[in-house]
């Protein structure tokens, strides 16, 4: 049983990573990753909503008639998004200001609805929670990687600390919109290359 939970978790982190493999939930990924910190904050917020929503969907899965399940899921997700929105506004106004409308927009992050529909609505609570946690962490890692690349190349810093040598000229395009598309494109390509290599390796051994 523990093996199953680990498998559900790992599925979201790597095998079906939402950004690297499935390419869903791209809007916040591109928009908020101007720095590692913003990427991490967005990843945490999304993970919280994803885990809470999947757990609740799984709890009520036998009470909800099949015909109205999608609206019910959306209401559940929107509730948790509102909680996050108000919490960040009260506790972390700076981060709230930077993430802007992308916090309420977590509600339309396809990852959350997709997990509710494809997994949480059919599975027992512990498996749903572990699956959601995996997908949340996978999403957060993707945002952190992309945010780090863009911050290091675009500003020469990482989490606000100077990491590049002093004579490094920042590539300011990396923190502008085009940089988001281009760096994510190359990251996706690199991940494809790695999975192709490891698939080839496991076949030949």
């Amino acid at each position: 049983m523990v093996f199953n939970l680990v498998k559900d978790f790992w599925n979201g982190v790597w095998d079906e990573n939402t950004i690297f493999k499935l390419q869903i939930g791209m809007c916040p990924t591109l928009a908020v990753t101007t720095s590692a910190q913003n990427g991490l904050a967005m990843g945490l917020a999304t993970t919280f909503v994803l885990v809470c929503a999947s757990t609740l969907v799984s709890i009520v899965r036998k009470l909800v008639p099949k015909e109205v399940r999608i609206p019910v899921y959306i209401v559940i997700i929107a509730t948790f998004v509102t909680i996050v929105d108000l919490f960040l506004k009260a506790g972390f106004p700076d981060i709230h200001a930077v993430l802007g409308i992308f916090i309420p927009l977590i509600v339309v992050n396809c990852v959350i609805l997709a997990r509710a529909e494809a997994f949480a609505g059919k599975m027992p609570v512990h498996r749903a929670a572990s699956d959601a946690f995996g997908f949340g962490i996978g999403f957060m890692v993707a945002l952190l990687v992309l945010g780090s690349i863009r911050e290091i190349l675009g500003m020469g810093t990482w989490f606000g600390m100077q990491v590049m040598p002093a004579n490094f000229v920042p590539w300011s395009i990396m923190v502008l919109p085009p940089g988001a598309f281009i760096s994510l494109g190359f990251v996706v390509g690199a991940v494809n290359l790695i999975s192709r290599r490891s698939a080839a390796g496991s076949r030949s051994s």
Binding site: Q23, C27, P71, T79, P104, L105, C110, F181, G185
Partner: protein
């Protein structure tokens, strides 16, 4: 009058929803393989966007603000948009079955198209009046269509290009989008801030 013009151009080109604001990336990458479906999707989004912009504006001004229910904004907006999309889907299935078949799975996905909800939230945030909202929505929708059509045109040509295996699909699409986005940043000075 000139304010309205600037709102329109701003939404269409300068702050293009897809290329500069990153709203509606999923359909942008998913439905941009063929020119024909790209136009259809763009039109569907423009239509839904304008409708939902008007409806959410009315809700914001006559329900949420007067009764102090701003915390219900996200919840209410997404429900309204979801029902509107259902309506458009039924309408297309009855009236334009060809388009309905072409758009297939992506029509229900308009619900989770962040461009639609994003527009409603931006309108509420900027306190536009009704006319400004309509102009903004039409501009944003056409901007979305424009980005989609440009992308589809390039991708149709790219089918015959030698692309490294690992970059095929999403990778090259994203890099292409980045290059289009650089071109669009040339519009930046068009509208006074």
């Amino acid at each position: 009058m000139s304010t309205l013009f600037f709102i329109f151009i701003g939404a269409l080109l300068v702050n293009n929803f897809v290329l500069v604001r990153f709203l509606g990336i999923c359909p942008f990458l998913g439905v941009s393989r063929q020119l024909e479906t790209a136009v259809g999707m763009g039109m569907a989004v423009t239509f839904v966007m304008t409708l939902s912009g008007i409806v959410t504006w009315v809700l914001q001004h006559y329900v949420l603000s007067p009764f102090g229910l701003a915390f219900l904004q996200t919840l209410l907006f997404i429900l309204v948009i979801a029902s509107l999309v259902q309506f458009v889907e039924l309408f297309l299935r009855k009236m334009v079955p060809v388009l309905y078949r072409a758009l297939g799975i992506f029509l229900p996905l308009i619900t989770t198209n962040c461009a639609i909800l994003g527009l409603a939230l931006l309108v509420a945030q900027r306190e536009y009046d009704l006319i400004q909202t309509v102009i903004f929505a039409v501009g944003a929708g056409l901007g979305f269509t424009l980005a989609l059509v440009i992308m589809a045109g390039i991708r149709e040509e790219m089918q015959f290009a030698p692309i490294p295996e690992s970059l095929q699909g999403a990778g090259i699409a994203l890099i292409t989008a980045g290059l289009i986005s650089i071109a669009f940043s040339g519009f930046a000075g068009l509208v006074p801030m």
